[in-house]
Symmetry: C2
Subunit: 396 residues, 2 copies
């Protein structure tokens, strides 16, 4: 008997799965990795009072009511250079040049823009008044010391690297990379190099799972294609399990006479479920093994394999990384009437045209659907279908 669960139950089931360990690495090696600590700023940013413009640092009170016809006349003290501390403090009726990003001298509380100042020898004629703090960036205006800046579970991208560097961080704690082993099974499968020979077909799930799990931040190895022979599969899975955190078995997951996935799992661990109540993707199964390791059997049908990996099984990887959700969800109008039988959740593939989501019609094809698919719409088990004009959530 298959132990079939819903995708909701799947999500409950993986809640208790432990996260992998962390390691500390150089910030420049952290791109694509999952942060395993909240980043709290140890410093104020910018860290000093900075000018927002090219101009003259002044006491704002000295510019009160001044204008082109009645300029304030201040004595010029120095050219402050960017990246250098001012050498002089400003006294009353004094000013210093400060470039954008330059440090405001002590005594000044505002900056008059370059174009509002004229010179008469060493005297600066200020043609426009400024108010307190005008054109001044406060020392903690960007980031305050003690502030949470990036949260644990974030997948580090180019922007995060810039932020981390600005905080003075050189090393960062991230989750170690999850190792994934992929085994394709099926007497009908051909490798990439083999010539097509009808009625065999190319193994596409093996390479798909390898690259898709790499896209999800794993170190992935494809162990190749195995024939549907029980002993061969068992020893191959055993080896892959010893070298990885997760083993994906593609094919051999329904209950036919040649489907050895369940037997393999029972031999190597504890079966968590056999069957997902979702169309497509019923023949999905999973076992828990020693040492927080997992074997997942995925459907042999390429479209089902793709959808189930992307929208269900990748959540296992996210859970083990403690990753914050990073799937993109978009609410769009549905473009057709679509009928579905009640009683089973459905992941409907859609293509998006001019902001409207249309179902992709295809009987049992796979590759052509995958080529056109812009995302999926989840239809709940008790819903009978969708109407043209309905608002739907498209996930990709």
């Amino acid at each position: 008997m298959l132990k079939v669960i819903s995708t909701y139950e799947f999500e409950k089931l993986i809640e208790s799965i432990s996260e992998v360990d962390s390691e500390e690495i150089d910030i420049l090696d952290s791109h694509g990795r999952v942060l395993s600590e909240d980043i709290i700023s140890n410093i104020n940013i910018p860290g000093f009072r900075r000018s927002a413009v090219d101009g003259y640092a002044v006491k704002s009170s000295n510019t009160y009511m001044c204008s082109e016809t009645m300029p304030a006349i201040l004595s010029f003290k120095e050219n402050i250079e960017i990246g250098k501390k001012p050498s002089l403090e400003l006294a009353d009726m004094e000013c210093s040049y400060v470039p954008t990003g330059g440090m405001i001298p002590e005594g000044a509380d505002s900056v008059v823009m370059l174009e509002d100042v004229e010179f008469l020898g060493d005297e600066a004629l200020i043609n426009k008044s400024v108010s307190t703090l005008e054109n001044v960036v406060a020392e903690d205006e960007d980031i305050k010391k003690g502030k949470e800046v990036i949260l644990k579970g974030t997948t580090i991208n180019s922007t995060h690297i810039a932020i981390l560097i600005s905080l003075g961080i050189t090393k960062v704690k991230v989750k170690r990379q999850i190792k994934v082993g992929i085994i394709s099974t099926g007497d009908e499968l051909l490798s990439i190099e083999e010539n097509i020979e009808i009625p065999k077909i190319k193994d596409t799930n093996g390479p798909f799972l390898t690259f898709a799990s790499r896209e999800d931040g794993c170190i992935s190895t494809h162990y190749g294609i195995l024939k549907d022979v029980e002993e061969g599969i068992l020893s191959a899975v055993k080896k892959a399990l010893s070298e990885n955190d997760i083993v994906f078995l593609s094919g051999g997951s329904s209950a036919g006479n040649k489907d050895f996935s369940e037997k393999t799992m029972l031999a190597l661990g504890e079966l968590m479920f056999h069957g997902l109540a979702v169309k497509p993707g019923k023949p999905t199964l999973m076992a828990k093994c020693e040492g927080n390791k997992y074997i997942v059997g995925l459907p042999g049908h390429p479209l089902a394999c793709t959808i189930i990996y992307k929208f269900v099984i990748s959540k296992l990887i996210d859970k083990m990384y403690g990753r914050r959700a990073n799937k993109i969800e978009q609410t769009l109008e549905f473009g057709e009437n679509y009928h579905k039988a009640r009683g089973r959740e459905e992941y409907l593939t859609v293509t998006i045209k001019d902001g409207i989501a249309y179902p992709i019609h295809a009987k049992s094809s796979a590759m052509s659907v995958m080529a056109k698919c812009d995302g999926i719409v989840k239809i709940d088990r008790d819903v009978e279908g969708l109407q043209k004009g309905d608002k739907v959530k498209v996930m990709r």
Copy 2:
């Protein structure tokens, strides 16, 4: 005088820029690369008549009107195995077992599901009638020979690799990778390793541009930080230009006395523009050099640099790759009233909460905005602002 252009004019300007050359590589090396040929299928997929279920291949006419009480009685011929050709053609009143994905024998036109068949010795009792082609996948049902499957300009992902493999493709033509050199300029900049020393700041644009252009499929090298000295910058850019297709200069792009970017560009190529009429990001400039090479000066302000790279300058890379648009755009409700001055286009950073886009308020801060930013909303130059409840397009 700055030669300022709009972002629309920028897009026009890069239309005439040539694409980089192509190369042929192994399919397993193609992940993340840009396809430079349309992929037309040379074969039908699946390529043979395949069973959609586990069951018995029959002539549908032999099952006409049959039922449990009045089964059709067919003689069983063989067990067809998956991946193997049937050895026998079916004659009238015969059937053969065929598994899901197995090849339908000549003579059969449909498959009766396993559960609708009982056995009495060698005689199969068919309890349910089937119609022509029932449970049969036609040989060209998934992909027809001659069909366009994946278009030129597609960035190859895990799904595309699966599709390409299914077509029997082992090598694929892709654009060679664009090489990008990044030079940070500014007397105020500190490298990652240097201790923070006020009023200097960390160079974040250099690492950002390095990783962001890698995310866009380039081979990127950060040449480090240069002081604002004209000769040093000129020779560094010359070297970087000889080794790359594009050189990004961060900082030194406004018109202040220490801004050498324009001088450098005039010495090494032909200035295309100096100034983008968009907030933030005005101090952006670009030159065309010999051999389809480009120098781009980006704003020193980190937030401006990030936004201008992602939403403007990355289009140069897309153009050189001939890449199909892959930015994600989402129509959402705007959550506040937001005032903007007329006369300049604005790229407003927003954060998304519960499907509503809110502007991020921040005077001249950068890092904290970058940390919160979920995307941008373009506001046209002649628009004065946005109202709460407006529908806006969020790009990310």
